[in-house]
């Protein structure tokens, strides 16, 4: 009898396009969006629009700058060039372009650039040349626009490298500096797809629990379906366990789909046979189910259940570290991060994947979610009305 009921719950869920979309398809869409955006943050596909106003005429300094700009300009046919450079002579027009967001920065090489460049090259060894007498490249940008600010910073760094190169050619001995980078707190090579895989997986489980289970149970209450079931030999425990199992089934399908998709298209390295990873998945599933039960217990209509589930889930997912790091947020929201059970399962899951170490004590990864599960279940058992009359 129970298996018939379970099958009917699953069939009914599979017939609902809404369930299929939010539980199965939406995680794939969100995962794709997040990976596409963040993978590009490294700058592989970044390019900026730049206006160049070269008033310097001909000379040694101009030659040096031309060589530098040629190396970073797309006009030379370099497809990975960082800057699309447009030459202009009218300052007002250039500023108009910057104002109208049609360019990210303006680089101006002033008239006296060559004269001062020569002065530095030939006379700096004889006497000190003041900063205002040195050749200057002027950069105009709009700091509030992220791309404009970033392009200005990059140009400044490029010119800094030019300085070192020029010093070397002038025979100035500079100390050698070697720069290396190391990421701490990660066990294996970091990969955005892995990072978001864990986040989106937790999101998918919670979507199933809160929206599928939470709203459906509320609907059953509202339409007195449970009341009708009570006229059959089915017990309440059988009813509830079938509802829970059908949701676990959807979570497994969501996991399977996401895993195949992420492995095929984004080479996610998740090892499903790690015991710890499986434990965190079960813990997340338990949390999602208990929250779903809670939503159905305190809501009278599916509509209010949907609103309540959204109000709960929005801060929980964004302040649970599913999509961006949360441990260094402002203290005003940090308290929420620490009471949020999603924080613990997401951090634990990533640690179990060997992706990044969690700053939280290991025991808390299990204890906090378990406390929440117990709390939610107790409140739900107390508040849930099978006949729908609250």
């Amino acid at each position: 009898m129970k298996s018939v009921l379970l099958k009917s719950f699953i069939k009914s869920g599979l017939r609902e396009r809404e369930t299929l979309f939010w539980v199965l398809l939406f995680p794939l869409i969100l995962f794709t969006i997040m990976v596409l955006i963040f993978s590009n943050m490294g700058g592989e596909d970044l390019s900026f629009n730049m206006v160049l106003m070269d008033r310097s005429g001909e000379g040694m300094g101009t030659t040096v700058m031309d060589q530098v700009l040629e190396g970073i300009s797309s006009s030379t046919g370099n497809k990975n060039a960082l800057f699309n450079i447009r030459e202009m002579s009218d300052e007002q027009k250039a500023l108009e372009l910057l104002k109208e967001q049609k360019t990210d920065l303006i680089v101006t090489i002033p008239e006296d650039f060559n004269q001062q460049f020569n002065k530095v090259v030939f006379f700096s060894k004889l006497s000190r040349i003041e900063a205002e007498d040195r050749p200057t490249v002027e950069i105009d940008r709009v700091a509030i626009r992220d791309t404009s600010k970033m392009s200005g910073d990059i140009m400044e760094q490029i010119i800094s490298q030019v300085n070192f190169e020029a010093a070397k050619r002038m025979g100035i001995k500079l100390p050698e500096v070697d720069m290396t980078n190391r990421v701490v707190g990660q066990s294996e090579e970091f990969n955005y797809a892995d990072y978001f895989f864990a986040g989106v997986l937790v999101m998918a489980f919670f979507s199933t629990g809160l929206f599928n289970m939470g709203i459906n149970l509320t609907l059953f209450k509202q339409r007195k379906i449970f009341k009708r079931f009570s006229a059959t030999p089915l017990s309440k425990a059988q009813l509830m366990s079938s509802a829970i199992l059908s949701n676990l089934f959807f979570m497994m399908i969501a996991f399977g789909l996401l895993l195949i998709y992420a492995k095929v298209f984004y080479s996610v390295t998740w090892n499903i046979f790690r015991l710890k990873s499986i434990l965190y998945m079960l813990l997340t599933a338990g949390l999602a189910i208990s929250f779903g039960y809670f939503v159905s217990a305190v809501s009278k209509t599916p509509n209010s259940a949907s609103g309540f589930a959204n109000v709960l889930f929005f801060p929980m997912q964004f302040l649970g570290g599913l999509y961006f790091p949360v441990f260094d947020l402002s203290p005003v929201v940090l308290w929420f991060v620490y009471i949020n059970p999603i924080t613990y399962v997401a951090a634990g899951m990533r640690e179990s994947m060997g992706l990044m170490e969690s700053p939280l004590p290991n025991a808390l990864h299990y204890v906090v979610p378990l406390i929440w599960i117990c709390g939610m279940l107790l409140i739900s058992l107390w508040r849930f009305r099978w006949d729908g009359d609250a």
């Binding site: 970044l46 050749p135 002038m170 500096v177 720069m179 441990f327």
Partner: protein, 371 residues
């Protein structure tokens, strides 16, 4: 007029009772503002701070270095607006970076071997979206240090001029808040017609309404007006909370803001209505509207700058109406500048699409009901 007032009142009450719709119209933009404002308000979405404070970093200077390097580090850090915190060991640096102790954002291990200085930058794995920024800070620090110890005078100087094209200085939170208002308008507009025409139709409310002597346009106008009022309330709430929590002062051009609000709202209503006509089933239309909103939220330059997207996605972002809603709103709220020609062109296109689609949707739905 009395009858119109009656319909309007009934619809308004029904809107307030619809918890799911209230979430997307009121609670969602507010939560978005509070969470993202508190999370990124002072550092913007990509951690590039306009009103920058000192960035703290932990540094361990190895014994191999010797001499008075500490002073050089202090000097150059000050020039770069960085604050070094001296660590006793490499493990200390690692710990500070991992746990963000004393506000440390990244770490540096400085050593020297065979006359080669070595700067090892340490970054927290959890801060993946800021690593690019921190690497560039360590690179700047290494370069400045190199110049400082050699007493090398820069050959080519760089003068950066941060231009401001708005009447008042703008802040990153003000920028985010304009985006939140764009989200609010988009959600309200997209779902408006689906709720009124889709769900009302499903529950046979329109049919019952058509049995009365009233014409369809009163129903349509009452509904549009309702959506507008609820959306205005939502925007006012966002502005008040923005002011109280984040001290955001907008230099609002009321005329431009009203134009943007009206045209954007009508356009979004038209798009939502088209979803309803295509899918017929209000739940399917609502889901499409929600997914469309989520996609727009991510790609329309509200949360992530469009310039940071891959090139092909930048083209896609420029096809999304919310991109232009956000741009026009930033302009109207004095947060950024766009040419007036672009502002008007966008508004004209929006209103042209809406003035064709909304009456068409209204007529089609009423026809379906009469049929």
């Amino acid at each position: 007029m009395r009858i119109f007032r009656g319909i309007f009142k009934a619809m308004f009450k029904s809107k307030l009772r619809d918890k799911a719709s209230l979430f997307w119209t009121l609670a969602f933009p507010l939560m978005f503002l509070v969470i993202f404002g508190l999370a990124f308000g002072s550092t913007s979405t990509t951690s590039m701070n306009v009103d920058s404070e000192e960035t703290r970093y932990a540094i361990f200077i190895d014994e191999s270095v010797g001499g008075s390097v500490q002073e050089n580090i202090l000097d150059v850090s000050g020039e770069l607006n960085l604050k070094p915190l001296l660590a006793k060991s490499t493990e200390d640096v690692e710990k500070s970076v991992k746990e963000g102790l004393d506000g440390v954002e990244f770490g540096v291990i400085l050593s020297k071997s065979n006359d080669v200085w070595s700067f090892e930058g340490l970054y927290d794995a959890a801060d993946m979206n800021r690593q690019q920024l921190y690497q560039s800070l360590v690179s700047n620090l290494a370069n400045a240090f190199r110049k400082d110890i050699a007493e090398f005078e820069t050959i080519i100087e760089v003068e950066i001029r941060d231009r401001q094209f708005t009447k008042e200085p703008v802040t990153s939170i003000g920028y985010i808040l304009s985006g939140v208002i764009a989200i609010s308008i988009t959600f309200s507009g997209l779902t408006a017609m689906i709720v009124s025409f889709g769900f009302y139709r499903k529950e046979n409310i329109i049919k019952r309404f058509l049995a009365t002597p009233l014409n369809g346009s009163s129903f349509l106008i009452a509904d549009l007006l309702n959506t507008m009022i609820v959306s205005i309330l939502s925007i006012l709430l966002i502005l008040v909370i923005g002011k109280l929590m984040f001290q955001v002062d907008f230099v609002m051009n009321v005329f431009y803001f009203s134009i943007t609000f009206l045209t954007s709202m009508f356009l979004m209503m038209g798009i939502g209505g088209m979803f309803l006509l295509i899918f017929r089933e209000p739940n399917a239309a609502m889901n499409t509207a929600n997914i469309f909103s989520v996609i727009m939220m991510f790609f329309a330059g509200v949360y992530f700058p469009i310039g940071f997207l891959p090139n092909w996605l930048q083209v896609f972002a420029r096809l999304l109406p919310m991109t232009y809603v956000a741009k026009n709103l930033r302009f109207a709220l004095g947060q950024d500048f766009i040419p007036l020609s672009e502002f008007w062109l966008v508004n004209i296109i929006f209103i042209a699409i809406a003035s064709v689609s909304i009456p068409f949707i209204g007529r089609s739905i009423f026809k379906l009901e009469k049929g």
